[in-house]
């Protein structure tokens, strides 16, 4: 029977059905999955700041489409990441994904991407192994031991012959240890000892003492940025610098976000990395001032620049496909894309979908009363040494 209520309902359904395609044609949703709470919240905050800065500088319209960002917090837990990604794809109908703070988080969504055929731009996770998991991963953060290789070249050119490596015992740490060791041996150096410290390590004292007693020319360090600050303190306290042991590291240890907190202890530390907040370019100045303006004067670090470039890649790909949101076409569009990022010139390798970028050797110095990583030398167009061969 045709009551007034069922008529109303039918009318409602009809109007909703009519409205959906119209809205979908103009709006492209991009899902942002980041750890906004939990131990890796600082990663999430930085990436989000980078993303916001990009949108603030470039608007929300690309190729006639309005970009809508849907931010979700995975708390740094892999099964949450996967569930959220699935929801974003199925319920929200996102056409691209951006984010993924850590290797296991990125790994967990690979099956979802493969099935849904939706590209995911990795802004933070770095292990080499991720990219093989899905054809739909594209990376704008860093590729495995990319930053370690130039440090090895630089170290042997600067008279450091005997080095102890000290890395956190997990995927990225082992990648970086291998990258550094292989390159350093190629340059004729000796690795005296390879120390791996547990990821959840409260006290570096015994490991540092071991390094000290091995009497190397330098110690090469990779630890995640949070504990990096703690490491720096203990390094100085233990008098390793006075014992003539130089500290060389990837940029995680002298993270822009924490550098001022570490204090004068960090001065003179030499690191290799892809981004410094004082990188001298117009793009970087605009980026830094935008992030500082919108985030209570927060200094962007290498995570933030990952977020910024992730958004750029999404925008650029959409422009290239002329607004077509087919996953395969978007990934094709991203391959080989090259642009001037705040960090310097970067390219997406068409074969591996991974980032190719310049790595800078930097030294911590005081600039206008604040500590910064001041760039000394540039090693252009570095690839992931783990996949560069194939």
């Amino acid at each position: 029977m045709l009551t007034r209520r069922s008529l109303l309902a039918a009318g409602l359904i009809g109007s909703v059905l009519a409205a959906v395609p119209a809205a979908a044609a103009d709006v492209v949703k991009i899902g942002v999955v980041l750890p906004m709470t939990g131990p890796f919240a600082s990663t999430g905050r930085q990436v989000q700041a980078g993303i916001k800065a990009y949108v603030a500088l470039n608007g929300t319209t690309v190729a006639g489409k309005t970009i809508e960002l849907v931010l979700r917090d995975d708390g740094g837990v892999a099964d949450q990441t996967r569930r959220i990604t699935q929801e974003l794809v199925v319920n929200d109908g996102v056409k691209m994904l951006v984010g993924f703070g850590l290797t296991p988080l990125a790994m967990s969504v690979a099956p979802v991407l493969n099935q849904a055929k939706i590209p995911a731009i990795i802004t933070s996770a770095t292990t080499s192994a991720i990219m093989k998991q899905s054809e739909y991963f594209v990376r704008v953060s860093m590729a495995g031991p990319q930053s370690a290789v130039p440090v090895a070249i630089w170290a042997s050119k600067n008279g450091l012959k005997k080095v102890v490596t000290l890395v956190s015992d997990y995927g990225p740490g082992i990648d970086i240890e291998q990258g550094f060791t292989n390159q350093f041996k190629k340059e004729g150096g000796t690795i005296v000892e390879a120390v791996r410290v547990p990821l959840q390590n409260p006290d570096f004292a015994p490991f540092l003492q071991r390094v000290r007693d091995a009497k190397p020319d330098a110690v090469f360090v990779f630890v995640p940025s949070g504990v990096g600050a703690l490491f720096m303190r203990q390094f100085v306290d233990r008098g390793l610098a006075d014992a003539g042991i130089r500290l060389i590291a990837t940029g995680d240890v002298t993270d822009d976000d924490l550098l001022n907190g570490i204090g004068p202890a960090a001065t003179g530390v030499t690191t290799g990395h892809f981004y410094s907040a004082v990188h001298d370019s117009a793009e970087n100045k605009a980026f830094v001032s935008e992030v500082r303006k919108a985030n209570n004067n927060m200094r962007p670090n290498f995570m933030a620049v990952g977020g910024f470039d992730g958004m750029h890649l999404a925008y650029a790909a959409l422009k290239k496909t002329n607004g077509d949101t087919d996953g395969g076409k978007l990934v094709e569009a991203m391959k080989g894309m090259a642009w001037a990022s705040p960090r310097g010139p970067i390219t997406i390798d068409p074969a591996t979908r991974d980032i190719v970028q310049d790595i800078y050797i930097r030294e911590v110095k005081e600039v206008n009363g604040e500590l910064y990583n001041v760039e000394l030398a540039t090693y252009p167009k570095i690839r992931d040494p783990n996949t560069a061969g194939n």
């Binding site: 919240a41 409260p202 015994p206 490991f207 003492q209 071991r210 976000d257």
Partner: protein, 286 residues
């Protein structure tokens, strides 16, 4: 290698100060308080805020963090904990782990998820050589402060009237009340004191152990190991256990770095097989 031994002692001392409050609540009051680390974290954050935001000297921050955490402990004991003294252990575990998660989220919300750093006064940083042994100044400071505390604690428990009241209240609550001992007051003060010690430990540990919102979860295992190996009926048991674990942990990581982190757990298993009631148990454990 005396430097390693010394580092181990300093680490053990720190563990002891952090965990001895738990010995008191768990051993004496028979309450499983997994949220103990949350008090330690509170102490750490109080120091960070006082030092970095208000520029107060590190030496004043230590008693301040003790006092504030003790007051916090007292308030929580009166409002929440006391209702669960008679509940069974599972309820206590669920309740206190809930507090842990709330404190983790709270610290993250108010202070942010990053590692907090404090700048020690210059006379405490660096290291010196004493008879050829390299000794970190701050670690020496830790050892001195913690041993003084341990001695004071032992004296309070065994020699003062408050100590005997506490032991009486624990041994038989009803008789103690019948003798006119104000048991709830004794328990509240003890709880506050234990929390205060944790806060002090957190403040002192910020430099060595680091401080981030996950502190209570990260160190819960260590506290529990100290208490379970040391036994809960004395202060000297956990003290020795903490020393042993500190030295074993540091030495293990130094000499056999590949399995270093495992040494402490292996030791715990061996100890628990040999002395299931703790190092110095008075016969049957409670």
């Amino acid at each position: 290698m005396l430097t390693i031994l010394f580092d181990g002692i300093a680490y053990g001392m720190l563990l002891f100060i952090l965990a001895c409050g738990l010995t008191v609540t768990l051993g004496l009051m028979n309450f499983i308080n997994l949220a103990h680390g949350a008090f330690a974290m509170a102490g750490g954050y109080i120091t960070v805020v006082l030092m970095n935001r208000y520029g107060i000297s590190f030496y004043w921050c230590l008693p301040a963090s003790f006092l504030v955490t003790a007051i916090l402990g007292l308030v929580l004991e009166r409002t929440l904990y006391q209702w669960l003294y008679k509940a069974d252990h599972l309820d206590q575990v669920l309740f206190s782990i809930g507090i842990v998660f709330m404190s983790v989220a709270g610290a993250d919300y108010f202070m942010g998820g990053q590692q907090q750093l404090i700048n020690l006064p210059p006379e405490l940083s660096g290291r010196m050589d004493v008879l050829g042994v390299g000794i970190g100044r701050y670690r020496l400071f830790t050892v001195v402060v913690c041993s003084l505390l341990a001695i004071a604690l032992q004296l309070i428990l065994s020699k003062t009237r408050f100590g005997s009241r506490l032991r009486a209240a624990v041994d038989d609550r009803r008789v103690a009340m019948g003798l006119g001992i104000n048991v709830p007051l004794v328990f509240a003060l003890t709880f506050a004191f234990g929390s205060g010690l944790a806060g002090l430990g957190g403040a002192m540990g910020a430099e060595i152990l680091g401080l981030d919102p996950n502190f209570p979860l990260k160190f819960m295992i260590y506290f529990l190991i100290v208490v379970s190996v040391g036994g809960t009926s004395t202060v000297s048991g956990p003290f020795l256990a903490a020393m042993l674990l500190g030295i074993a942990d540091v030495a293990g990581k130094y000499y056999v770095p590949a399995i270093g982190p495992f040494v402490i757990y292996a030791l715990m298993i061996v100890m628990l097989i040999l002395r299931p009631n703790g190092l110095f148990s008075r016969g049957i454990g409670r």
